[in-house]
Symmetry: C2
Subunit: 310 residues, 2 copies
C-alpha cells in the first residue's frame, strides 16, 4: 500500500455531508454520512466531522491529508470559510488551521463546484484537457474553471459564477440584481415552475412538485411535446451562457453534470448546437462538450486531491 497517496475528501452538502478515503482518484472506503440539520451549531457539526475522520484513519492509518469542499465562499489560501450559501452559523471559520491542529494532517478547503471541476479534470470527463469549464446543474448552477491545467479561482477565490452571468440584458433580475441571470431560467425550482405554468396553460395541470428534472425527462422520453420543448429551451439558455464563456476562455472541454444533466441528449443536444452555431470554428473545432463522469463523487475526489497538493 502506497500510504502517501491516500487522503480524505469531504463533500459538505447542505443536506448531507459525505466523506471517503481516496487513492489515485478512486474511492477506497466511505465514511458515515452526516446530516447537518441534526446539529444546532457549527461546533458540534465540526466535532461530528472529526469523529468521521478518526474512524477513517483508524482503518486507513496512512492517510496524509484532508480536503473539504464547501457550498459557499472560502479562501483556500488562508484556509478560512467566509460564509456558506444555505447553511447557517458558518462565518469566518479557520477550518484549515482547525484540521491541522486536531489531526496533524495536511489540509485544504475549496468551493464545492471548484472541487468537482478539478476532479473531472484529473480523473473524469475533462481528463487531458488544457482549459475546461465544468458546470453542475441543480438548485443553482455551479461552475469551476481549470485554466492552463490549474484550478482558476480569481482574485477573491470567487470566480466561475456562470450561474449569475446574464443571457439577456433586459431579462428578469437574479438574486444579485443581474438582469437575465442564468439561474433565473434554469435552476431546478425555476425549471419546475416554468414547466407547471406550461402544463397549466395547456389545460393539463401539474404542480411544480410534479415537474422535477426526473419527471420532465420521463415525460419527454414518452414524447410529451411540452417537456421536449422545455428541455430544448433550457439547453439553449445554458448554451447561451456557455457561448460567452467559450468566446472569453477558448476552452477545449465543457463538462456538464448535476440533476438536469441526467436528461441526457434532451439537454446536451441543444447545448452543443447552441455553442456550435454561435462561435467561430476556431473556438469549436477542438472543443468537446461532454457529460460529467464522476457523478456525486466528484466533490470528494477533487478535495482529496487538493489535500495532497496543499
Amino acid at each position: 500500500m502506497s500510504g502517501s497517496k491516500q487522503s480524505i475528501g469531504i463533500d459538505f452538502g447542505g443536506t448531507s455531508i459525505k466523506s471517503a478515503v481516496v487513492e489515485n482518484g478512486a474511492i477506497v472506503a466511505r465514511g458515515a454520512i452526516i446530516d447537518p440539520a441534526k446539529h444546532a451549531s457549527s461546533l458540534t457539526l465540526i466535532e461530528a466531522l472529526f469523529d468521521v475522520v478518526k474512524a477513517l484513519r483508524a482503518s486507513h492509518p496512512a492517510i496524509s491529508g484532508i480536503g473539504i469542499g464547501f457550498p459557499g465562499f472560502v479562501d483556500c489560501k488562508s484556509g478560512v470559510v467566509h460564509s456558506l450559501t444555505n447553511v447557517k452559523g458558518w462565518h469566518e471559520v479557520p477550518m484549515v488551521r482547525m484540521i491541522q491542529e486536531r489531526t496533524g494532517l495536511k489540509a485544504a478547503i475549496e468551493n464545492d463546484a471548484n472541487a468537482m471541476a478539478y476532479a473531472e479534470f484529473l480523473h473524469g470527463a475533462a481528463k487531458g484537457a488544457q482549459n475546461a469549464v465544468c458546470i453542475t446543474l441543480g438548485t443553482g448552477v455551479g461552475c469551476g474553471l481549470v485554466l492552463e491545467g490549474k484550478l482558476f479561482r480569481g482574485t477573491r477565490f470567487a470566480a466561475a459564477e456562470i450561474g449569475h452571468t446574464s443571457i439577456d440584458l433586459n431579462g428578469p433580475r437574479g438574486v444579485y440584481g443581474t438582469p437575465g441571470d442564468l439561474e433565473v431560467y434554469v435552476g431546478n425550482k425555476q425549471t419546475a415552475e416554468r414547466a407547471a405554468r406550461l402544463y397549466n396553460a395547456a389545460g393539463r395541470p401539474r404542480t411544480a412538485a410534479e415537474c422535477t428534472p426526473a419527471d420532465l425527462s420521463s415525460l419527454a422520453s414518452q414524447g410529451d411535446s411540452i417537456a421536449i420543448g422545455l428541455w430544448e429551451q433550457i439547453g439553449t439558455e445554458i448554451g447561451a451562457a456557455l457561448v460567452n464563456a467559450v468566446w472569453l476562455l477558448n476552452p477545449d472541454a465543457i463538462v456538464i453534470g448535476g440533476g438536469i444533466a441526467k436528461a441526457g441528449p434532451l439537454v446536451m443536444d441543444p447545448i452543443r448546437r447552441t455553442i456550435r452555431d454561435r462561435v467561430s470554428p476556431l473556438f469549436h473545432e477542438q472543443l468537446k462538450i461532454v457529460p460529467a463522469e464522476l457523478g456525486n463523487d466528484a466533490g470528494i475526489i477533487g478535495c482529496a486531491e487538493l489535500a495532497l497538493e496543499s
Copy 2:
C-alpha cells in the same frame, strides 16, 4: 546602457505599422511608419519591416529581441500568423522563424489586443493587479486577459473575444451568428449609425460620418441629450458584457482603452455603475475599473516585453 533590456516592439495595424525601441517599458526611439496599403504582397511588406528593424538596430546595437502584435489569429507558440482580420495575403506565415533567421534575435508574435493588455498590466493601468480584463474599443472590441499575472491565451490562442460575447440571447446576430454580439451594439461604425438614426428621428439630421466618437463626445459635452443618452446606453451595453466577465473571472482590474474610451466619464460612469449594480460586493469591492494609460503605444510596449520573455 543595459543593452540586454532593449527590444523592438511592432504594432501591426491595418492602416499603419508602428515600431519602437523599448527599454524598461518606455519608448526610447521610434522607427519609420509603414503603410501596409502601399505593399501589394506580404513579402514586400515583410522586407519593409526588416528595413525598419535594420535602421533601429544601427542606432541601438544592444537590441536583443523583436515582438510583433498582429490584428488576427496568431499561434504564439509555433510562431505562425494564421490569418489577419483586415489585411489580405497573410496566411500561415512563419513569422517568428523568419525574424530569427534574418536577424538572429529572439522573436515573439502576439494578438494585438493581448499585447496591449500585457503592456497595461506590466506598466500601465493594471499594474499590480493579479487578474485583469483589458478592452480596447474601436472598429471592433479588442480584449486581452491577464490571469494570475500571466497573459491568458486559451486553447487555440484565441481567448478574450469579449466583442463577440452576447448581451442578449434574442438580439441581432453578429458576424459569427451570435445573437446580441457586443460589437453589433458598440463598434465605431455601429455607434455612428445608431447616432445618425437617433438624430434623424429627432428631426436633426446628421450622417453617420458626422457621428464619430469624437463628434459624439463633443456634442455630449455641450449638453446634447441625444449624445449623452447614447453614451449612457453604450456604457451600459459594454458594462453588461463586462458583468459576465467579472462573474466568470473575479478580476481585480478592468482597463478600458481605444477611441470610445476617450469619451471619458460619459462612458466610464455607466460602465462602472452597470458592473457595481449587477455583481455582488465580493466581486466589485476590490475591482478597479480604469481608463488605459499607455494609449497607442500599449501594443508596441507589450510586444517588446514579450520578445524579451521569449
